[in-house]
């Protein structure tokens, strides 16, 4: 790069940063430098997390050469987090897949699209003919665009006639969904990111926001810098950068979040801190089954039996959860529990709760989501600007695609379910398919789907935009299952070779992000659209095309009679949510804006749901109305959910808790970030975070290799006693990005019986010097 070009770019970088910081450029002479006429800029949501930041993508000569935070994006106002660096090379790793590959013996051999799709179609037909439609399956992703998820759902449910469609969001957000559905009868938050600017009290539960949702965390920090009254409380099992920056770090023993939230509710009731008027008007109380199991057996089934209870019965249920008792369970001092309860209930404060995987990847994930809503409902601290519980989303379109389109075995778009005949009839009408085509019974959640593949009940599975053979818990079983032969056939669509493509019979090269037109939906119900800005490499094609091509070859091309598929799919899809409180705007509106928060009615987005004056579905005079919960007279549900232990707890043989999660420098299984040699060196391989006292006791030094073993698998890793994250005593933490170190082989495939979401945060391991 020539000196003058470098100076110019430095000036551009500075100018963009000044603009984002809200200040005029200090050196006016360089102001023009901000406008590099060689680069064409187009908007897109960031490829990575559920925050959904706006990015401007700079293209020159058909290649992305620059990115900047989109100043017009309300989510992030011109500033991205460290993952913005990752965008630079997601698409340009050297081993990008460019041609279809078919397994022939031990080798993957290049093939034409015609040959690959022909083979795939023949395998689908063969399996369906011999074993029925439930012998084929699709496993997609919260990183699918809305179009891709919709097309997959339409093909499988409406064309092939099977409910065998699941997504990796079963592994991340399913418990959040069932929490919403059982408490409010409608998925997704009532609040939005504006609550981070308007609130003054933020309880974080098992969520390392500083590393996993940095832009949202920055909004809280910005708020605190302007308003010294702001308090951030980090309830966590591990000390992280978030804990460092919080006002209080409250460590608790794994799984005892259930007990802690009940104890907080206990104190709120004991000390008469609840909002009696709010409860009377907006709340019913219910109890469900207890001792509900852990989904460890194949074909595990569970159905709850909710019963209405009274406020007094609920109070009675909470009696055991005294601060003193819960101190013994959780390790949180009784005094702190009381203090936190009073902070939650403080009438002078605007209180918010935020959480992600600590609550969701939990064998009682639905319950713990219910319990955090309980605290907000008892105190009436909900449905107010600046005061809401906010379930954070991990993936960029777990909301927009998997939850809103409904790409789960039991789902249809707009919160509808296959079990409901009216919902099926509506879908059949919009899709123009015969009545009775969509099966009425759900089949498998994600874990059960891969168990079925292992058993041979599923023969053909197509995986798109996700890496299950690295990310599933109890991984060995499912990796082995995929290669058992006997008619099993695995197709994987991705952009790079992964631990899943290596087990595939056919690999299809996909387009990614701005190599295709797309729509994502983020954690605050904001739907964003983007246009294609560069071509995918080689012969790679977008996943929507791939799905429609299979449909055509299976005789279901009539389901996709589109000339401009993206727009026409959108207009067809939004019929489902129209008038249902899930309204979406016409496609053009998203092309023009930096996203709109649904319900969008008469062109106006909704910031706060269920609230008069903000939600168009709540009439004047109605105040707050949980209008999706008709059976409970439009009230929300406070659930009596007990503490129950984790599926597997430390014992003499396996005395440590193992928790898994993400690190800042790598996105999930590292398929995109691991491709970039430079990024890989920054955090090149997984380590085991351990407490120094535990290490000393076992005679282990920093960076020394240890063997970590569970009942399911074993791995050797170096120990890190001084990392950014610090494990508590009796706990270790390992990230799951490293494709050379498959930590998920150790994890237990226990799941929340209500949501089907596995618990990646708790299993028992032992540690020895390697």
């Amino acid at each position: 790069m020539g000196l003058s070009r470098r100076d110019f770019l430095k000036a551009s970088a500075a100018a963009a940063a000044f603009a984002a910081a809200g200040a005029a450029v200090l050196k006016p002479g360089n102001a023009d430098a901000a406008d590099d006429k060689g680069i064409k800029w187009g908007k897109a949501p960031c490829r990575f997390c559920g925050t959904g930041c706006g990015v401007l993508v700079g293209v020159k000569n058909g290649r992305i050469v620059a990115t900047k935070g989109d100043p017009a994006a309300p989510v992030n106002k011109g500033l991205n987090c460290i993952k913005g660096y990752f965008l630079s090379k997601v698409l340009y790793g050297k081993d990008r897949l460019t041609k279809p590959l078919i397994r022939k013996g031990d080798k993957m051999v290049e093939a034409s699209w015609d040959e690959a799709m022909g083979l795939i179609a023949s395998k689908f037909k063969e399996a369906i003919d011999k074993h029925g439609p439930d012998s084929v399956a699709m496993y997609g992703s919260g990183q699918w665009t809305v179009f891709e998820g919709y097309a997959a759902s339409k093909l499988f449910k409406g064309g092939i006639g099977t409910n065998n469609i699941e997504v990796n969001a079963r592994l991340c957000m399913a418990s959040a969904v069932t929490g919403f559905m059982t408490t409010f009868a409608s998925d997704e938050p009532m609040g939005c990111y504006d609550d981070l600017d308007l609130g003054d009290t933020f309880f974080l539960w098992g969520a390392n926001m500083a590393e996993c949702h940095p832009v949202l965390f920055s909004r809280m920090i910005d708020n605190r810098l302007k308003n010294p009254n702001v308090r951030i409380i980090d309830f966590a099992t591990r000390h992280t950068r978030t804990s460092q920056m919080a006002d209080r770090y409250v460590k608790f023993n794994p799984q005892t979040d259930l007990a802690l939230l009940n104890a907080i509710a206990y104190v709120i009731i004991r000390d008469r801190l609840y909002d009696e008027a709010f409860i009377k008007e907006h709340v019913v109380f219910k109890k469900g089954k207890e001792n509900i199991g852990y989904g460890l057996e194949d074909k595990f089934k569970f159905a709850d039996e909710p019963k209405l209870i009274t406020f007094d019965e609920y109070t009675n249920f909470l009696k055991p959860y005294t601060p003193e008792y819960v101190e013994k369970l959780s390790g949180v001092p009784a005094q702190t529990i009381v203090e936190m309860a009073h902070l939650y209930a403080d009438r002078k404060r605007k209180v918010n709760s935020l959480w992600t995987m600590g609550f969701n990847q939990h064998s009682r994930g639905t319950w713990v989501n219910n319990l955090v809503y309980n605290v907000h409902l008892l105190t009436g601290k909900i449905c107010r600007p600046g005061e809401n519980p906010l379930s954070l989303t991990g993936q960029p379109s777990a909301c927009g695609t998997t939850r809103e389109v409904g790409t789960f075995t039991h789902r249809l778009p707009a919160d509808m379910v296959v079990m409901n005949p009216e919902h099926r009839a509506k879908a059949e009408k919009i899709w123009g398919i015969p009545a009775g085509k969509i099966p009425a019974k759900p089949t498998y959640n994600a874990t059960e789907m891969f168990r079925a593949l292992d058993r041979g009940d599923i023969k053909v599975v197509w995986v798109q935009v996700t890496n299950p053979f690295q990310s599933l818990p109890n991984l060995n079983r499912y990796r082995t299952g995929a290669r058992k032969g006997d008619g099993r056939f695995v197709i994987v669509s991705d952009i790079y070779p992964t631990r899943s493509t290596e087990l595939a019979d056919v690999i299809l090269p996909s387009a990614s992000w701005v190599e295709k037109e797309g729509v994502f939906g983020n954690a605050e119900r904001r739907t964003h659209q983007w246009f294609k800005q560069v071509d995918p490499p080689g012969e790679a094609k977008n996943d929507l095309w791939q799905i429609m091509e299979l449909a055509r070859r299976l005789g279901h091309g009539n389901l996709f009679p589109y000339k401009y598929p993206e727009k026409e799919i959108w207009e067809e899809y939004r019929k489902f949510g129209d008038g249902q409180g899930k309204d979406l705007a016409p496609y053009e509106a998203y092309a023009k804006t930096r996203g709109l928060r649904w319900p969008v009615v008469n062109g106006k987005e909704t910031l706060w749901r269920y609230v008069e004056g903000h939600d168009p579905y709540v009439k004047q005079g109605e105040g707050i109305k949980f209008y999706k919960n008709k059976p409970d007279h439009f009230k929300a549900v406070v659930w009596a959910r007990p503490f129950e232990p984790a599926a597997e707890v430390p014992d003499k043989q396996y005395p440590f808790w193992l928790c898994t999660g993400r690190v800042l420098e790598h996105w999930h299984t590292g398929t995109m970030t691991g491709r970039v040699p430079e990024l890989k060196r920054a955090y090149s391989s997984a380590v085991c975070e351990m407490h120094p006292d535990d290490a000393k006791r076992l005679g282990i030094k920093n960076l020394q290799k240890v063997r970590i073993s569970s009942r399911r698998g074993t791995i050797v890793l170096p120990v890190d006693l001084n990392g950014r994250g610090k494990a508590e005593k009796g706990n270790i933490f390992v990230a799951f990005f490293d494709e050379g170190k498959l930590i998920n082989e150790l994890c237990i495939d226990a799941y929340c019986p209500i949501s089907g979401e596995p618990d990646f945060k708790k299993c028992a391991v032992r540690i020895e010097k390697a």
């Binding site: 790069m1 470098r6 770019l9 430095k10 551009s12 970088a13 500075a14 100018a15 963009a16 940063a17 000044f18 603009a19 984002a20 910081a21 809200g22 200040a23 200090l26 700079g58 020159k60 050469v65 620059a66 990115t67 900047k68 935070g69 011109g78 500033l79 991205n80 987090c81 460290i82 913005g84 660096y85 965008l87 630079s88 090379k89 340009y92 940095p214 832009v215 965390f217 920055s218 920090i221 910005d222 810098l225 950068r241 920056m245 800042l664 420098e665 970039v676 040699p677 430079e678 990024l679 060196r681 920054a682």
Partner: protein
């Protein structure tokens, strides 16, 4: 050689002191301190890895609250 523009937010009243600390880090050039205790800086490195490492290290500098990325140019990366 990739180049990025960043905004560093500091604790109240700290910005000038933090700017001095940051200014001594190789690869980081402070462009100015703006109202709201924010520092604008440019990062230059041989690689994206280098930029990410510098960006990450900034979080450990005394007085830094948040670090965010405004602009990233990588036009000469292979």
């Amino acid at each position: 050689m990739p180049i990025s523009g960043i905004v560093v937010t500091c604790g109240t009243g700290d910005a000038d002191a933090v700017a001095s600390r940051i200014g001594t880090m190789d690869g980081i050039e402070v462009q100015g301190v703006v109202p709201g205790d924010r520092i604008v800086a440019v990062i230059e490195s041989d690689s994206v890895d280098g930029e990410v490492a510098l960006f990450s290290r900034l979080h450990e500098v005394d007085g830094v609250q948040t670090v965010r990325l405004a602009y990233h140019n990588f036009e000469d990366m292979e």
